[in-house]
């Protein structure tokens, strides 16, 4: 079987698997966030944290919940890392330095999982399982909660109430992420991923010398790493490591885990708004971008442009032979179009265009299908912008799902789309204005430029993948990327919740023949166009100097 055919077949299998789980999972999540019942374990949790899950919250209260919970999480994770040296079960690793501990705490709470440390050489079982893995669950649940709050903004009228943050958070973990993770971890173990609390082994190598192999609760962390679009690997090699991602099947399964919730959330959205078609329209926009990017990625990576490529069957540098170009391209696109950032190959080694596709994927705001929750709310913000521009062209003031997009709404949406470009461009520019940051680069020229651009793109968009090549464990990168991650995660949430509050307070406008039909393919096309043009225009100059210059030179 040719590698191209293998890649296409893997894509088809993936589409089929996602298609099969779309309805049941989407409907299940809609039920989870609409139900009035509390499960017994949930009641225990509410009792412990002292929260009343039945109280309806207006947007400021909801936001306070999100921010307070996340602040406590950052602090806890920071202290845990700082105290690692004294904690048992740390495999003898020392405490983490303050700037790196801050970076890592910010990174995992912000659902980014940017790692400026080597997992197997820095983090013991306690931090990995008791700190990082916990955040993998809760930061994902926070993302879904905020998305659900925005959806409630559309469905509710003349009330400012968006639901209860604590209930949404706990349910997300207990009823969605945990059960799926248990099943997923078993599948991964069956594929050959490890799951133990073993220590460090020095293993002899065929080529001589020894190599360090750690044991650990890898499969359980791997599954939530993908399912919660977190991306922080147990090992530095991330999903390229055979303990995390042993073979082609586990690879495909991990890609499936990355995409399954973000796509299914469009069904949840359709269910909750009472119009499945609206959900399909959003799904259509996400799928169009995802398939388009995947096709482009495969095309550029399979493209035989030089003798070395001809021999390898494509751009195999930096890719695992057990995944091939197809499995690697699929993974790279899925991980950068969601806020996952797990990698099974080295994005730095992709062709110039291939590296550009991973960057552009993140720069779109990670909305196709995006991170768990964050993908849906990011896409809905773009839907609002698209409605605002094009909705006027049907001769009415813009409205989406029966809610008017007025001054307040557009203000929050405009602020939302400003945040990440501002963070990415300003921090990248500052890195070049200052002298020292540039010393972290491995390469010069366009590729070196891409290393830094990629780092901040990944941080601010909460992706967490690295281009490789950049030594990011410096005070400058630890603190600026840490800030970019926090601001890139929580500022948009502020605007999303404020927007949700404003929408929930509105009275719905009934749909007439004069209303812009946002469930039609025409609108989906328009939405894709708006996304591509708005982000394309923002990053075009920067991309031109990095991946485009490199890709066109090839």
């Amino acid at each position: 079987m040719s590698p191209v055919l293998a890649g296409v077949l893997q894509l088809l299998a993936l589409v089929a698997a996602l298609g099969l789980s779309y309805r049941p999972l989407g409907d299940h999540m809609a039920r989870v966030y609409s139900s009035d019942k509390h499960l017994r374990p949930e009641k225990w949790i509410y009792k412990v944290i002292g929260a009343d899950p039945s109280v309806e919250m207006r947007w400021p209260a909801y936001l306070r919940g999100v921010l307070a919970f996340s602040a406590v999480s950052v602090l806890f994770l920071y202290l845990l890392q700082r105290a690692q040296g004294w904690l048992p079960g740390s495999l003898g690793f020392v405490s983490i330095d303050p700037d790196q501990a801050f970076n890592t705490a910010a990174s995992f709470v912000a659902n980014t999982n940017w790692q400026s440390y080597y997992g197997e050489q820095a983090m013991g079982h306690v931090v990995q399982s008791g700190g990082l893995a916990v955040q993998n669950f809760v930061s994902a649940a926070v993302g879904i909660a905020v998305a659900v709050a925005l959806v409630r903004g559309f469905t509710r009228s003349r009330t400012g109430e968006l639901g209860n943050f604590w209930a949404d958070l706990v349910r997300g973990v207990v009823r969605i992420l945990l059960p799926l993770s248990v099943v997923g971890a078993l599948v991964l173990v069956a594929c050959g991923a490890i799951q133990n609390f073993s220590g460090i082994h020095q293993v002899g190598q065929f080529t001589g010398g020894t190599r360090q192999w750690n044991g650990g609760a890898v499969a359980s962390q791997e599954v939530i790493k993908e399912l919660g679009t977190n991306g922080g690997g147990y090992f530095n090699a991330n999903s390229a490591h055979p303990f995390e991602n042993p073979n082609g099947l586990s690879n495909l399964f991990e890609i499936y885990l990355i995409l399954v919730i973000p796509f299914a959330l469009t069904r949840t959205f359709g269910r909750m708004t009472g119009s499945l078609k609206q959900g399909y329209a959003i799904l259509g926009a996400m799928t169009t971008i995802w398939l388009g990017f995947t096709a482009l990625m495969m095309w550029t990576e399979f493209h035989h442009g030089a003798p070395a490529f001809d021999i390898a069957g494509g751009a195999m540098e930096g890719k695992e032979t057990r995944f091939g170009i197809g499995g690697s391209s699929l993974f790279a696109v899925a991980t950068t179009l969601t806020s996952t950032g797990a990698v099974n190959s080295f994005h730095s080694s992709y062709t110039g265009f291939g590296g550009g596709i991973t960057m552009l994927g993140m720069q779109l705001g990670e909305i196709a299908p995006g991170g768990v929750g964050s993908g849906l709310y990011g896409m809905l913000i773009m839907a609002i912008i698209a409605v605002f521009i094009a909705g006027l062209m049907v001769g009415r003031t813009p409205e989406y799902l029966g809610k008017k997009i007025g001054t307040r709404e557009i203000k929050f949406a405009a602020c939302y789309i400003l945040v990440t470009p501002a963070l990415v461009l300003c921090f990248t520019a500052a890195s070049f204005v200052l002298d020292t940051p540039a010393h972290s680069m491995t390469n010069s020229g366009a590729h070196g430029f891409s290393e830094i651009l990629y780092a901040f793109t990944s941080g601010a968009n909460n992706n967490g993948s690295a281009f490789a090549g950049l030594n990011a464990d410096t005070q400058w990168f630890n603190s600026t990327i840490g800030l970019a991650m926090l601001l890139g995660r929580f500022l948009p949430m502020v605007f999303v919740l404020a927007l949700a509050g404003s929408l929930a307070g509105q009275q719905p406008v009934p749909e007439t023949a004069g209303t812009l039909r946002t469930e039609k393919p025409l609108y989906t096309g328009l939405l894709v166009g708006t996304i591509m043009i708005i982000t394309g225009l923002t990053y075009f100059p920067a991309l031109a100097l990095g991946p485009l210059a490199e890709g066109l030179a090839a």
Binding site: L392, G406, A429, P510, Y539, F540
Partner: protein, 713 residues
Amino acid sequence: MTTDVKKQQDAMPTTATTTSAPHSDLPTGHKPAAGRVGGGLFDPKQLVASLPDAFRKLDPRFMIKSPVMFVVLVGSVVTTVLAVTDPTDWFGWAITAWLWLTTVFANLAEAVAEGRGKAQADTLRKAKTDTVARRLAGGGEERVPGAELCVGDLVVCEAGDVIPGDGDVVEGVASVDESAITGESAPVIRESGGDRCAVTGGTKVLSDRIVVRITTKPGETFIDRMIGLVEGAARQKTPNEIALNILLASLTIVFLLAVVTLKPFAIYAGADDQTSLIVLTALLVCLIPTTIGALLSAIGIAGMDRLVQRNVLAMSGRAVEAAGDVSTLLLDKTGTITLGNRQAAEFVPVRGTTETELADAAQLSSLADETLEGRSVVVLAKEKYGLRERRQGELAHADWIQFTAQTRMSGVDAGGRKIRKGAAGAVLAWVRERGGEVAGDAQELTDRISGAGGTPLLVAAEDERGARVLGVIHLKDVVKEGMRERFDELRRMGIRTVMITGDNPLTARAIAREAGVDDFLAEATPEDKMALIKREQAGGRLVAMTGDGTNDAPALAQADVGVAMNTGTSAAKEAGNMVDLDSNPTKLIEIVEIGKQLLITRGALTTFSIANDVAKYFAIIPAMFAVAHPSLDKLNIMGLSSPESAILSAVIFNALIIVALVPLALKGVRYRPSSADSMLRRNLGLYGLGGLIAPFIGIKLIDLLLSLVPGIG
């Protein structure tokens, strides 16, 4: 039966007043085929004439109102300074010149839009000459300047006097020339009491004497407000305009970030020389949405102006915007859906009488009926039965019975034959009084006509054969031509029409069906109307209505778009957010279309503006970076001749497209009522795809021209 009779009489005053309205049958409402809101006028000469104003608007305090254009202004200043410091650099001067032109073109668009209103304001000012008021004080009369009048003062106006201020007639009746405001020369009647008591300052009394109670302070009169409105002085940004400005401002910030951060990137890439501050400024101006930023306020002013051209004054831009969003139209039956009066449609004889016989009797008996309904009987007899109209003098010894509201009959006694025509009850009584028999089918016929929503009038005669009913005249409301098509169009646009009428449900249903409205409100009282509006609004629908009476005022105020008729009371005019100077209720439909056209124009140009940027990148990025990264020259897909020419071409295109689109901004995009789907498809293709492709062609053409200039290509 009795209700029908009563109805005919009730209708009398209404018909009378409607016809005396200056031109309620003005063609504006009667051309469904041409009912599309066409563009306003645009004359290229206006561009030249408005140039001085455009330069005056360069004031930064004024420019800051449009964040996008303010950035261009700052950019122009920056490049000017740079050009002055390096005077030998022709490129710097060229960019500077075109950036200034961009700014001026933007101001020009607004100046042209305002200029059209100014001409109208000047005409109005002439009407506002200083008047001397004859104020009633302590039993006597004193002469005071019109500007010193207070609310509540009583002033006397006689033939030839200019009314000194807005007010209500409290005594007398007069014919008034309101041409200063409405442009219509036919005089109108103003009288105390009722719904026709309002007079406007600046209009002229032509006959008789009236006493007016002043209701507005000088300086705040209707004419003052009109001047303010057409000049745009009172113009405030509408909610959607503010929202759009926010989005444009945020896009401007995004592009500002992209351009500012480009400098360190360029230095790293080794393209420091190619990214001078002048080049970066040019790039910024090309990227920020200058096209829509420049034309946004002109679009708004032009929208108001299109209303003014149709003799409608919108008191706020917000109302025009709301008009585009309206989903329920409340239309008064009389004058809007039907012609102002009922007309004879048919003569139905009872058994034993022929149609011609009945027509002849009906005609004779109606000659003494001067009401419009009476005239229509004569007209029908002539048109359908070829009966020549006879004059009253033609019949010798004839005794004419005039129609009065008391007798409810008209007729003639001539040569021993008496003929009567009138309300069914009155005629039946007349026949019975004379011992006549009422044919059995007479009752049947009247019932049938009432059931079909018509009004039956009976014709009876007394001669040698005794008194008897001859037949029935079928009076019916005549639905204006083309209304059904318009309502169909409105339905396609998603707008529901509700007919409001004082008629009983039976009649109302018949007319509603004939006219093709979606719903009707029969036997409507002002309270019913108000309740209907509130009900619609509670469902999230925006409601538009017209009204003229004082009892319409609360509903006018409640409606999202309330169009008061200029003939209406001052309370109604105060309550509505638009005034129709022609007092033509059909215009409501056009107002909705103008509102939609305004929003479409705004959206189309925004889309066009943003789509334009793609081509500009393809011109400027290779120009800046092809030296540092030769591979980027492949992005120069337009094959522009040199980096300087590429950047200059993009800037020139950016400036010229503003001027090129001024006519579109002022006239509004072509608008045809259709569903949202087809409208979106059309506009997206035209302005989205067009906006993507047009600049590639435009920039290439400009580059070709520039390359002919020695030293550039």
